[in-house]
């Protein structure tokens, strides 16, 4: 079954790539705006053998990783605090609901004013976008704590820290992990957007340079790279999730099938 799925997946991808080769060649779309797969592949090879590409990839991943780490750390801490401290949830709910829907890209002018075209502008956008994903999931996760388990822990005389650690955290973790997985994807989108629009160093900036240089195949090659990066990040996040939740019903259930 698994082998068949893989074969079907490969066939689908091959058909897609072949379509990308044939359509521009037959003139259905202009080759100068949509180069065939083989041209993109050769441009991709040129990029891979160029040092500037790797430093751009490093810049993008640095912005992504630092931004995600800050967002996850802050999101979990703030989420637990807001839920545990009495009345804080009610007091902050309206503010959170006001700030959360502001699209991170709307903060680009602010980022430019504060930090110019440096890494910090990327971080501002990445952290702002991914922080809410983690925070909201943490809040819901904490809400899901079984009151009976909580009361039982209380009657056994567990202190606040012990209850957070042994009751609250295991309940919230599956939610937090979902938040982290979503945040990882959002962080990449925002890192590339910031580089593309502001011009901070990274893959996004390389795409913009290729675009303004009329280097169309190179531009598509870099776009393919960002797609692959997104794919890898998603697979990585799922692996981390599975590992962290190996004990949890949702993951154990999946393994049994």
């Amino acid at each position: 079954m698994k082998g068949l799925n893989t074969a079907l997946g490969a066939a689908g991808l091959a058909a897609f790539l072949a379509l990308g080769e044939v359509v521009p060649r037959t003139g259905l779309v202009k080759e100068s705006y949509f180069p065939p797969t083989s041209r993109i592949a050769s441009a991709l090879w040129d990029e891979i053998t160029d040092g500037a590409f790797w430093s751009a990839l490093g810049d993008t991943l640095t912005g992504w990783a630092i931004g995600l780490a800050i967002a996850v750390g802050a999101g979990v801490v703030v989420g637990v605090l807001v839920s545990v401290v009495p009345y804080l949830r009610e007091a902050t709910a309206s503010t959170i609901e006001f700030l959360r829907p502001i699209p991170s890209v709307a903060l680009i002018p602010l980022a430019v004013l504060l930090y110019g075209t440096e890494l910090r502008s990327v971080l501002l956008l990445v952290v702002y976008a991914s922080f809410w994903q983690v925070l909201i999931q943490t809040l819901y996760g904490v809400q899901d704590v079984d009151p009976v388990a909580e009361e039982t822990a209380r009657s056994y005389g567990l202190g606040t820290w012990a209850r957070v650690r042994h009751v609250l955290w295991p309940t919230a973790l599956p939610y937090v992990m979902t938040g982290v997985r979503l945040a990882a994807a959002v962080a990449l989108i925002l890192a590339i957007t910031a580089e593309l629009v502001i011009g901070a160093p990274g893959l996004g900036q390389q795409i913009a340079v290729a675009q303004s240089s009329q280097a169309v195949p190179e531009m598509y090659a870099l776009i393919v790279v960002t797609g692959l990066l997104g794919l890898l990040i998603n697979v990585g996040a799922r692996t981390v999730e599975r590992r962290a939740l190996a004990w949890h019903q949702s993951v154990r259930g999946e393994v049994a099938v």
Binding site: S32, V112, T117, S213, A215
Partner: protein, 323 residues
């Protein structure tokens, strides 16, 4: 498992802490660090042909000779450069003249320090052109009155200079309908007939011509003789506090401009290092002219015409802007 998570969490905070630490550190060094007689200056530019002398000067050691070490940042557009320079993140920036005049009339403290780039001064042989699509019935800039013309930025140097081309050809410049479009998308927009004309610069200009677009005017040439299109600038605060660094930057830039103007082959080679312009376009495209000094008379023309078109809130003070 819990230990792993605790470890992950601790690591996260350490990362967060170092990130905050490093941002504090680089913020304080924004004033241009100097060590052993060499001053490091951060210059914010756009990765286009016009800024080649900066890279030439760096490669040829003109800046090093004057005790300057360049750290070049590539911004995606002028919008990110002016605030960055004024707030002190960069010591120098590259901007077109109209944007500097707009900044000045908005009381943004900018001060031009050196020539950036000039038109070639030759009709139909400039690095910027007014083009119409292949097969268009338009043969003169005059006919663009009442038509849709793409410029990269509305209410900027494109408006002023395209109007100059149409006026010169005998058309009514007030009737042009400007639409905003990035340069790199103009060849496709022309090809698909989405616009009737485009104000376009290299390398998109050569690309459009290779797809059959026709050049009906040279806006930078029609606007003024030897038009200064862009200049290097700094903030007034920085210019007051660091007159010596500004002087050295001016001297080195002058040498870099003169060298670039005389050595087009080297310019084409170096442009290939900081852009991705394909070799075929790189060898064919028209290079701009890099004189040693900005042409103040041409800047006054841009100021006067821009004022008439309502680009500025108040009358720009060109004398105050110039070095």
């Amino acid at each position: 498992m819990r230990r792993l998570i605790a470890g992950l969490a601790t690591g996260t905070f350490l990362l967060a802490a170092t990130a905050c630490g490093s941002s504090g550190g680089s913020g304080s060094s924004g004033g241009g660090a100097s060590s052993g007689g060499t001053t490091t200056i951060k210059v914010s530019t756009i990765p286009i042909v016009d800024t080649a002398p900066l890279y030439v000067g760096q490669a040829k050691g003109f800046y090093a000779k004057h005790g300057l070490k360049l750290s070049i940042s590539q911004a995606q557009g002028g919008a990110a450069i002016v605030p960055g320079v004024v707030s002190g993140q960069y010591q120098f920036g590259f901007s077109n003249v109209t944007s500097l005049l707009i900044a000045q009339t908005n009381n943004v403290p900018v001060k031009a320090v050196a020539e950036g780039v000039n038109s070639t001064g030759k009709e139909n042989a400039d690095f910027c052109g007014l083009v119409v699509p292949k097969g268009s019935s338009i043969t003169s800039a005059k006919q663009l009155a009442g038509k849709k013309v793409a410029v990269n930025n509305l209410n900027n140097i494109g408006d002023t200079t395209v109007r100059a081309s149409v006026r010169k050809a005998g058309g009514d410049p007030s009737k042009i309908k400007f639409v905003e479009l990035p340069f790199d998308q103009m060849p496709a927009a022309l090809d698909k007939g989405q616009v009737d004309g485009a104000f376009i610069v290299e390398p998109a200009f050569t690309q459009a011509k290779s797809e059959g677009a026709k050049n009906v005017g040279s806006p930078f040439v029609d606007a003024a003789a030897n038009l200064t299109v862009a200049m290097f600038f700094t903030s007034q605060q920085y210019a007051q506090k660091n007159p010596d660094v500004v002087k050295r930057f001016q001297a080195a830039t002058k040498e870099a401009l003169a060298y670039s103007d005389k050595n087009p082959a080297e310019v084409r080679k170096i442009v290939g290092t900081y852009t991705k312009i394909p070799a075929a376009l790189l060898s064919k495209m028209t290079l701009p002219h890099w004189p040693a000094e900005p042409n103040q008379a041409s800047i006054e023309t841009l100021a006067k015409e821009g004022r008439q078109d309502g680009l500025f809130k108040s009358a720009p003070d060109v004398d105050k802007l110039m070095p």
